[in-house]
Amino acid sequence: MDLIFSLTLNGLATGMLFFLLAAGLTLIFGLMDVLNFAHGGLFAWGAFTGVWIYGLSGNFFVGILGAIVAGLVLGAITEYLIIKPVYGNHIQQILITLGFMLVLTEMLKVVYGPNQRAAQPPEYLDGSFTIGDVTIIKYRLFIILMGIIIFALTSYVLKKTKIGLIVRAGVMNKEMVQALGINIRLIFLAVFMVGSAMAALGGFLFAPYSGVIYAEIGLDYGIFAFIVVVIGGMGSLSGSLMAALLVGLAQAYMQYYVPSLALAVNMLLMAAVLLFRPQGLFSVKGVSTK
Amino acid sequence: MEHIIETNNLSIAFGGHVAVDSLSVKIPKNKFTSVIGPNGAGKTTFFNLLSGQLRPTNGEIFYKGENITKKSSTERTRMGIGRSFQITNVFPNLTVLENVRLAVQSNEKIRYQMMFHFKKYKKFEEKAMELLELVLLETKADSVAINLAHGEKRKLEIAMLLALETDLLLLDEPTAGMSLEEVPAILEVIKKIKEKGDRTIVLIEHKMDMILDLSDQVMVLFNGQLLAQDSPSEIMENKTVQSAYLGGLHDENSA
């Protein structure tokens, strides 16, 4: 019982972490249909910038702010220079964002040096407590909380405003949206920036979780974010949440009960979902007959 | 009379909405049948069922006496059911000529040939060119399809259908958006086929003058059901058809 509880809790926490890494991509890939392979670079930058500012200020939440600002700024640059010319063209998106990913990762080393860096949670989030036989790590509860906040906030905005609709409409037919009097360029820019900020935030929150960050985390976890979005279903925020939790739980349980398959669990899960429910678990898109 | 295609209790529902409702019709061979009905009556859906784009939730379809309900659209095309699409549906980044040539190639059953250059089959290209001339599109042969004006795409659609030389032609609003000046030429093409008398044509149109001019019989669909099936003149007199479909326009609209 304790074991199940502990595995579940940790699975959920890991899942939430994945959600935080993937949430930005739900907007950028799921909603805006941009294959942004530089997404991982954004969370690496968020992680390094956040950790740096956290170190300077000594305040974890200032670090969070720093990461978000870094994400917004980088998002704006990325959208304007890299993404704008290639909306609607997946092939070009792949090429240009992969190129940009190299630039981002390498620039990170120029700015912050090539070494890996340690990251610790602030004291009040450090360590763990026990209930009965179960050890509960404080920072994981914090991650779960942050995940819920981000999810609630984003879904609230998407529900209450037309932004989600407009973005989806803009992806399907940009000209028509403009002809309806909407400045789609500005909206795409804004959504991209928000998505990047979410990525950066995810990167920063990831840092104390793993205890270490390095320039290549973007490369290592970028694809992962795509997996979560695809399993969840394109454009569905709640889908991404569920998918992330599912992956987190699957990892936790597999690692305990079937360790020999743990190495393959992400891929197996994605393959299974794609074979039996290709549109993803919670797709909102893909209803069109096209 | 011999019938080329028959449906038996054909139905399809999308979610809760029954778009085609227990439709049992017979379409006489080598005749010209028109299908009319209000927007959303299920005409296109009916075509989609006949051509295999959609599977019915209920009922059966017989083509030349054979049950084809479970056959794919590809197989049906090969059996001789060809169609044009209401929403223009071509190969956008290929040239107009290549669009038609592909249809000719399929009709000539050259499908898995991978050893020879496609230009070796020169007659395909010639045939495609002929068809383009027929629909007044020869000057656009080298244009990429996506760049065509709307009406030009409609003509391309017709050329592709004709290339398949199918026994049954399902035409879904072929002249929608086509200019006044060119409609007669297309009508001419359709008429020629009709006059040869060896093919069956089913036409969906909202242009009543065309329907009256061409049809041997008219089917009226309404809310997915068959409201009437009769000669064109009888249909025009039908009160329900007048009120639900034609409105006040039907007598003036004969320019």
Binding site: I91, E106, A264, M267, L274 | T74, V90, Q113
Partner: protein, 336 residues
């Protein structure tokens, strides 16, 4: 008529170019450069196989490394366990290609019903599973230590290896060119453009997709075979996403939907890579040469949005059209 003539001219041009390349090792004996060119040939073959999917059939795969890896491991395992004789080399190649054919057939049947990025992600997963398998089946693959093996002495000679790769490239290029220009090739393009319309013209699209994915898989595996032979060492990285991404990038940079494009792309990427990384010896400013390498990708998209071969082709077409348009305008003027 004119068109036919042109095809032949380009054929001669390509052949001539191939012959020129064949002379290279005899006049220019910088062996490490030869190795680089061999790699270009190999990745040219691999990228062409990718373009069959991407450019001609409109299928994006993130798992093409699967076939490359199967080819590389196939030949390596056979050679590692046996004497490095010509017989075992050929046997190894056959094993590799056969395995690739079977795997691509099964994978194709399983996955090809999926569309666009769903298919892409599924292939990503499959390749990922192959990577795990290679890692785990250590007695066969050596795990992440990889396999070192020897090959018949004849091919240890770099010139011979070079010629082998070149001949393979040329033969594959011309075969694939014929394939893509065949009636079947045209149907592939139709599938890329509009699957549903292709079906209603009376083509069954599924068999086409399976056929092309098998051909593509086998050609990719052959690329993997040559790769393994050229470095005589392989490890699990042949299954990594990077390998697929390389093929993808080469294809896009060169120009999707043209066979010469992937070869140009392979040449450009391999050479730019080589050149830029050497720059770091020139001055420490270039220590971060990877930034420049990334910028190359970005610039290609901006200046050659359709890839190099694609953009050139396009420019040529436009020029032709402009001329025609002018002629037409003149005609009109005369007529009116």
């Amino acid at each position: 008529m004119r068109q036919l003539g042109k095809v032949q001219i380009s054929t001669w041009v390509y052949l001539l170019f191939g012959c020129l390349l064949a002379v290279v090792p005899f006049v220019y004996d910088n062996l490490s450069m030869l190795f680089l060119i061999i790699q270009i040939f190999i990745f040219g073959i691999f990228a062409m196989s990718y373009d069959l999917l991407l450019g001609y059939t409109g299928i994006v795969s993130f798992g093409h490394a699967m076939f490359f890896g199967v080819g590389a491991y196939g030949v390596s395992i056979v050679l590692e366990r046996n004497e490095p004789t010509l017989f075992f080399l050929i046997l190894g190649i056959l094993v590799a290609l056969g395995a690739a054919a079977i795997i691509s057939f099964i994978a194709g049947v399983l996955t090809l019903r999926l569309k666009s990025h769903f298919y892409a992600m599924l292939t990503l997963a499959l390749a990922g599973l192959f990577l795990v398998a290679a890692e785990k089946m250590r007695s066969l693959t050596g795990g992440s230590d990889g396999l070192i093996f020897t090959i018949p002495d004849f091919f240890k000679d770099r010139t011979n290896m070079y010629l082998l790769a070149l001949i393979s490239l040329v033969v594959i290029f011309f075969s694939l060119r014929r394939l893509t220009n065949s009636p079947l090739g045209r149907v592939l393009v139709a599938i890329r453009e509009n699957e549903q319309r292709t079906m209603s013209l009376g083509y069954k699209i599924f068999p086409y997709k399976v056929i092309i994915s098998v051909i593509s898989g086998v050609v990719a595996a052959f690329g993997g075979v040559l790769y393994a032979l050229s470095i005589r060492f392989i490890d699990t990285t042949v299954f990594a996403v990077d390998v697929t991404l390389d093929a993808l990038l080469m294809t896009i940079i060169g120009g999707v939907g043209t066979l010469i494009g992937p070869i140009i792309g392979a040449g450009l990427i391999e050479y730019a890579h080589h050149f830029l990384s050497e720059l770091s010896d020139v001055h420490w400013i270039f220590e971060r040469w990877i930034i420049l390498f990334g910028i190359v990708y970005i610039l290609v998209v901006i200046f050659f949005p359709m890839g190099i071969a694609g953009s050139i082709k396009n420019m040529y077409m436009k020029r032709k059209h402009k001329k025609e348009a002018k002629v037409q305008q003149k005609d009109n003027q005369i007529a009116s």
